[in-house]
Symmetry: C2
Subunit: 401 residues, 2 copies
């Protein structure tokens, strides 16, 4: 399966992946997933926006709601191979392993994927799971535009999907387990191949609009300028400093400059702050601090700044009973069961959206030797990936026994 | 003429102009110029890349080389109405005024336009005059690419031009006079509608490539990052500070970020420094200082920076005899001749390229009440524009008498 996926949406230049939702690369991944399910005798259902699920139902319609596992297939711009696909491939491989073990589930096991988890095209992360849970309405989502001004509703339709046919329902989902490559190094520190998530830090995306006055870069005296690039630059350094002091996260990774000409002082700089902290109060305080420092600098530069929260996700505490039940399944390399470590994450996931919607939810992480993620350099050792599959199979067997 | 030009390439949003070379807007301007010349009985010659000239030749082929005037029709991205077109319109209007005066030139008077003066598409300012003078070779220029990766040679051909048919010659040009809206406020300070250029500051465009490591904006600890956005931000502030201290100019107005995603630490930031100073030594010292401070910060951020000079224009001193001859023609509002002020400029012009190539060259400036340029807010009073036309007619009459 990994070999199938390797070339899809891959940049020959960077080696990274461009698997934006409702593009050719993502359609190919969706077709691949349907083939994989069909090869296992599972029928995939694709909803109106491209979320997919295939249920392995034991003979006779079971009474109990099922155990859903899976992740996402889209990537950030120039992302790594593992973020998303590892959870999907591991879900399919875990089904294979359960069948090899001769396991017969007493409740259905579903394998699924959610679209636009990264928010790399329309700016709203976990869009597929937000729509399924109702955290975001279709009326709001359909009006989102990508960088080229394409409406989400048109992108979905152009990809051959029919949004009016409805979304996946959660009535069949008794619980959700998402396996994901770790995006930090907690498991390296704990010397464990696999871990269980305790919680997700609250986080958000905040748009900073810095406005000044376009002018000639040669003839305009420095003291006559109102240059929003300076305000942006000072704000970027302030955000970095603020997050370092409090051990939180603040990043300006996306910028748009107008008119973006070499010999013109910009009229406008738009930049997006990604901010994350251990509590919702701490996140608010971090963003308030960056906004205040941006405003102070704008006063100095003769510019203005406005800050808009584009998406904010509250703190997610995964079901503690489920987490400790999963952790207790942990096998050590010698076959003992000394438990998997329970660790927090600073990254948002579809699992967080489902958890917030009241679905009992858990996450498994697979060790990432460098912690690098959202980068072509992201990786995981094959042995750890295989340990992840075994762990996921153990978890599914426990939950669907 | 001004009414004809007003809508061409204008943004409905900003009111600014997008007249990039070899685009539809610029082709329309070229056709307009040819029509204007034809309406005056002048035949326009268009060279292989779109430079244009029309000669008003008195009866009988004159012995002396001619007096060329004109400017450019392209704009920066989201530029003003006056930068370029004012010189072209004034040239045509000055011919009209000379004819109304019943003036018969004893040497030819040419009206012309040079392409891609701003370098807004292919990054090399004054490209048309550089090619005509040989300051840049066609072999070099043809390989330049715009932001979409289009080769200059293809852009020229796609605009219906035939680069192989050759370029305008300068053999017919005895001297060149360019009228231009002022891009600073020296004439406001001098309370003069019109001025004469003494010199152009040396200036250049320097590409800063900041490289780091893409990573997840949430899970990567601040201390584990190699974020080139921080190095760029610190360099932007350092450049501003350096130029303020020395009364020079340093601007980062153009930036490209990869992958430019909200939730990813960038792998690479490319930014262009526009730097200008009163002497070539001072310019070098300014750029060296910014580069050194960028390198220091890169060491701190775990990133790297490389600096590439994309174009550097040396200091230009316009023909001093010509400048003082023109200045002496200056009329005061009451009709006296107390001379036009002679002022330097920090902006590059085709006049600078022709001057450096040995063509006796002069520039007239028309007062700009705010000094704002390279901006939709750029403007000039109609009375000052008309004073500019009269001044240019006086200059042409003096030089072609």
């Amino acid at each position: 399966m990994w070999r199938d996926l390797a070339p899809v949406g891959r940049s020959a230049t960077s080696g990274g992946y461009f698997r934006q939702p409702w593009t050719a690369a993502e359609s190919e991944l969706r077709a691949w997933f349907a083939e994989q399910c069909a090869a296992r005798g599972l029928t995939v259902q694709t909803d109106g926006i491209g979320n997919q699920v295939a249920w392995w139902r034991p003979d006779g319609e079971p009474a109990a709601p099922g155990v859903l596992t899976g992740s996402h297939l889209d990537s950030v711009l120039d992302g790594g191979a593992y973020d998303g696909p590892l959870g999907v491939v591991s879900a399919l491989a875990a089904v294979d392993e359960l069948r090899e073990r001769g396991f017969t589930p007493s409740r259905p096991i579903g394998v699924g994927t959610f679209v636009e988890e990264e928010g790399s095209r329309f700016g709203l992360a976990c869009l597929g799971s937000r729509l399924v849970t109702g955290a975001t309405s279709w009326e709001t989502a359909r009006e989102l535009r990508d960088r080229d001004g394409v409406f989400l509703a048109d992108a979905v339709t152009d990809a051959g999907l029919e949004p009016d046919t409805g979304l996946l329902g959660l009535d069949d989902v008794g619980c959700f387990v998402e396996l994901h490559v770790e995006q930090g190094r907690d498991l390296v520190d704990r010397e464990a191949a696999v871990g269980v998530a305790s919680r997700i830090w609250p986080h958000g995306r905040f748009r900073f609009d810095f406005a000044g006055e376009a002018n000639h870069a040669g003839t305009t005296r420095m003291e006559d300028r109102r240059d929003p690039m300076l305000t942006f630059a000072a704000t970027t350094l302030a955000a970095d400093e603020g997050a370092r002091l409090t051990h939180e996260r603040a990043t300006f990774g996306r910028v748009r400059v107008e008119p973006n000409g070499t010999n013109a002082v910009p009229s406008r700089v738009t930049a997006w702050l990604d901010a994350r902290a251990a509590s919702e109060e701490a996140l608010q305080s971090l963003v308030d601090d960056v906004s205040r420092r941006a405003g102070d600098r704008a006063g100095h530069d003769g510019t203005t700044v406005t800050v808009t929260a584009e998406s904010v996700s509250g703190s997610v505490a995964f079901d503690p009973e489920l987490a400790s039940r999963l952790s207790a399944l942990g096998r050590s390399p010698d076959g003992g069961t000394d438990g998997w470590p329970v660790i927090p994450t600073q990254a948002g996931h579809d699992a967080g959206i489902l958890s917030a919607a009241g679905v009992p939810t858990a996450m498994l992480f697979v060790r990432n030797p460098t912690g690098v993620s959202h980068s072509p350099a992201e990786r995981a050792e094959t042995a750890d990936c295989l340990a992840g599959v075994t762990a996921l199979a153990d978890v599914l067997a426990d939950l669907a026994r």
